[in-house]
Symmetry: C2
Subunit: 414 residues, 2 copies
C-alpha cells in the first residue's frame, strides 16, 4: 500500500552509492548493531554483514536522508519516513521496537541542548499546542480510537480483553483509586472528549467540573453530556487548568501532565494546593520516564509540540511536595500502554486508506510511525505510564489496604 509514495523515490534517478555514502552507511549500521536491522541504500547496497538474518530493513532512498540520519537521527528518521525518503521493510512495529532497544541509552548532547532551549507553555502556547494535536478533527480520532474516544492508556484487567472494555476498566480503576463517593465534587484537568467525566458522574454519582482548551473536544463532550442528560452533574469548561477555582473532594488528571511542561509545574502545584480540600485526594495519570530526558525530537516537533514526559521524582518534587501533597500509591502501567497502542495501530491500519485519502500519504505515514514508535517505547521500558494517588498532608490515605481499592471491582470481589 505504501508503494505509491515510496516509488516516487525509489524510481527517482539517484546515482549509485559512492564510497563516502557506503562509509556513512557502515557507520550508521554499527550504531544500530544490536538490532539485526539491515540498512539498505538506494542502489540496493548494504553494509549489513551479520550472520543473523535481519528482522527487517531500513531503506534509505537518497543521500540527503542518509546524511540526515547521521547528523540528527532523532529528528530525521521520522521526517524522512514521513516524506517517503526512507522506508521500512518487514513488520514496522518489530523493526521500530528493535531500533528502540538498540538505541536505549543516556541522552546525547543534542537532546540536552534541545531540552534546555524548550520554551515554556504560556496560556496562548498551551492552546496552540493542544490545538495542533487534538483539533485535527474528531473524525480522525474516531477512525482508530475506541468508540468513546479515549486517547490515554487503557487498563487490561485481563490481557485478552478488548479495547472498549479496557478503557472502561481504566476509568473504574481511576475512580476506585480515588474512592469516589456519591455527591462528592471532582475537578478534572484536561478532560479530552469527556468520557471520564461522564463515567464518574454516571457510575459514581459525583459532580464534575472538567477543564479543556481543545474546542473540538469540548463541543463533542458537551453534546454527549446533553444527550446523556448529564448537564446538571458535569460541567465542561473551556479554560486552562490553571484557572481552576474552588475546593473539591477530588482532583483528577489523565494524560494532561505530559502537555504541561516542566516550567509550569509550579502553577499546577498551586492549583492542587487550592483545589484539593483537606480530607480530599487526587490522581495524576501521565507518561513518564525513569530519568529526565526530553521527548524524542521528532515527536516533539511534528506530533506533540510542548510535550514533556517527567520522571516520578520531578512530579513528586515540583508538583506534589510544594502543594503539600503526600504520595499514597504509584502504579506503572507501561505494558498496558503498549497493548493499548497495539489496538490503536490495528485500527489505524484498518482505516489506513481512508486516512491517506483524506489527510495525505505523508500525514498517514507520520502517524503510523508515531504509533509504532510509541508502542515500542512502552514495551521496551523506554517510557513509563504512572498513576499516582496523593492526599493533602495530614489526610489519611483513602484505603487501609489495597483490598479496599479494588473491592468495588467485580473482578476483585472474588
Amino acid at each position: 500500500m505504501r508503494s505509491q509514495v515510496v516509488d516516487a523515490y525509489t524510481t527517482s534517478l539517484q546515482p549509485p552509492a559512492r564510497i563516502f555514502d557506503r562509509w556513512l552507511a557502515a557507520r550508521l549500521q554499527r550504531a544500530i548493531a544490536p538490532a539485526a536491522v539491515r540498512l539498505e541504500l538506494w542502489d540496493g547496497s548494504s553494509p549489513y554483514s551479520r550472520d543473523m538474518s535481519p528482522i527487517g530493513s531500513v531503506l534509505v532512498h537518497d543521500r540527503a536522508a542518509l546524511i540526515g540520519l547521521i547528523v540528527d537521527p532523532d529528528l530525521w528518521f521520522g521526517d524522512a519516513y514521513t516524506a517517503g525518503r526512507l522506508d521500512i521493510s518487514g513488520d514496522l512495529g518489530t523493526v521500530v521496537e528493535a531500533l528502540t532497544r538498540a538505541t536505549l541509552g543516556t541522552p546525547t548532547w543534542r537532546e540536552r541542548v534541545r531540552g534546555a532551549l524548550e520554551r515554556p507553555n504560556s496560556f496562548t502556547h498551551a492552546r496552540r499546542n493542544v490545538h495542533h494535536h487534538y483539533d485535527l478533527g474528531n473524525e480522525f480520532y474516531q477512525q482508530w480510537l475506541d468508540q468513546d474516544l479515549v486517547y490515554t492508556c487503557a487498563y487490561f484487567e485481563d490481557p485478552q480483553m478488548g479495547l472498549e472494555a479496557a478503557q472502561h476498566a481504566k476509568f473504574d480503576l481511576v475512580c476506585r483509586k480515588l474512592r469516589l463517593q456519591p455527591g462528592e465534587s471532582v475537578v478534572e484537568a484536561g478532560c479530552g472528549w469527556g468520557t471520564l467525566a461522564l463515567h464518574m458522574a454516571r457510575k459514581y454519582g459525583v459532580h464534575v467540573k472538567a477543564f479543556n482548551v481543545s474546542r473540538e473536544q469540548l463541543a463533542y463532550a458537551r453534546d454527549r453530556a446533553r444527550r446523556e442528560g448529564m448537564t446538571e452533574r458535569v460541567q465542561f469548561i473551556d479554560d486552562d487548568y490553571r484557572n481552576v477555582r474552588g475546593e473539591f473532594d477530588a482532583f483528577v488528571s489523565v494524560g494532561m501532565l505530559e502537555h504541561v511542561g516542566l516550567h509550569h509545574y509550579q502553577s499546577l502545584s498551586d492549583v492542587l494546593r487550592r483545589a484539593v480540600r483537606r480530607g480530599g485526594r487526587g490522581l495524576l495519570h501521565f507518561i513518564g520516564r525513569d530519568a529526565p530526558r526530553p521527548l524524542n525530537a521528532w515527536t516533539r516537533r511534528r506530533i506533540f509540540p510542548g510535550a514533556y514526559a517527567p520522571t516520578l521524582a520531578e512530579v513528586a518534587t515540583r508538583v506534589l511536595a510544594p502543594s503539600g501533597m503526600s504520595i499514597v500509591d504509584v502504579e506503572n502501567l507501561r505494558l498496558h500502554y503498549a497493548r493499548t497502542l497495539a489496538h490503536w495501530r490495528a485500527r489505524f491500519k484498518h482505516a489506513e486508506e481512508q486516512i491517506r485519502a483524506r489527510y495525505g500519504a505523508n500525514f498517514e505515514r507520520a502517524w503510523e510511525l508515531y504509533l509504532a514508535g510509541s508502542q515500542a517505547a512502552f514495551s521496551t521500558g523506554w517510557m513509563q505510564l504512572f498513576q499516582v494517588v496523593f492526599v493533602p498532608l495530614e489526610t489519611a490515605p483513602p484505603y487501609w489496604t489495597r483490598a479496599e481499592m479494588y473491592a468495588e471491582s467485580p473482578k476483585w470481589a472474588g
Copy 2:
C-alpha cells in the same frame, strides 16, 4: 510509675517563676497553640488561657529546661523529658501527637544547618551507628517487639490482627511484590535478626545472602538458621551492604535505607546495578518524607545516629535512576507503621519496670518518648513508609496487574 524520677525535680527547691520565665512560657504556649496542651511551670503557674480544657500538660520543672525549649525545642524536648526535667501529664501518646500536629510545618533554619553539617557514614561510622542502636542487647528488643524480633513496619491486612500475624503478613507482602520463585537467589541488605531471610527461604524456597553489620543480630540470626536447618539456604554475612558481590534474581532491603544517609546513595545505587540481574527485580522498604528534611534532632542524636528518612524523589533520583532501575509500584503504609508502633508501645509499657530496672529510668523515658513520637509522626503524616518495587531497564514488571501481586495471599484469593 514515673514519680520517682519526676519527684527528684519537682521537689527540688526551684524558686517561683519570675516575670521573665512567664514571658518565655507564654511565648512557648503560643508556639504550640493549636494543640490544646497546657504548659505548666515548676511553681504551678501556666500561660494556658484557652476556653477549651487541655488534653494534657507539659510540666517544665526548671528554668534551664524552659530556656532550652525556646532555644532548641527539637533537641531539648527529648533531652529534658529523658532527664525528667520535663514531664507530661495526660496520655503521653495523645499529647505527643497533638504537639506533632501543632508543629508540622516547613524546616527551621536550625534544621537546615544541622542537615548541612551531617557527616557521611563511612564504613566505620556505619558500624558504630548500627551498634549504637541495634546492639543494645537482643533482650531489650525481646521485651517489646514481636516474638520474631521484627523491628520494621508491619502490614495489618485486617486492622484488628495481632502484631505477630501482621509482621508475617508484611513479609508475605514483600515476597509477593517480588514474586519470588523457588530456586531463585535473593540478596538482602540489612537483615535485622534474620526473620525475613528465613521466611523467604522457608516459604518461597529461595536462596538468600543476608548482610548485616550488627554482631548481636547476626549471632541471633545464625543461631536461628541452625535451629531451623536453614544454613544451606540462608547465609548470614557480617559485612556492609556496599560489599555485596554477585548477581541475584532479587534485591530486598527492609528498614535499612534510613541508615544509609544521602551521601551514600551512590554506593547503594552501584550495588543495585551490579546485584540485580536483567529480568530480576528489587524492593526497598523505608521510612520516608514528603519533602526533604532532616530527622528530628533529638532522634538523630540520641536514638538513631546517622539516620535520614528520604523522599521518594531522592530515592528515585539518587538510588534507582543512576542504577538504571525503573519504578514499578509504590505503596505508602504510614498508617500501618502507626499501628505497629501502638503495639510496640503497649508491650513496652507492659515491660516498663523491668526495662527501667535494667537500663535505668532515663533510658526508659527516652525510649518511651521515642516510640510515642514515632507513632505520632506516622499517624499525622509527618513521616511516610514507602515500599518501592523496581526492575532493571527493559525488564518487564513482575505482574500484568496487581491481581497477580496479591494472588498468592489467601486474603486476596477471594
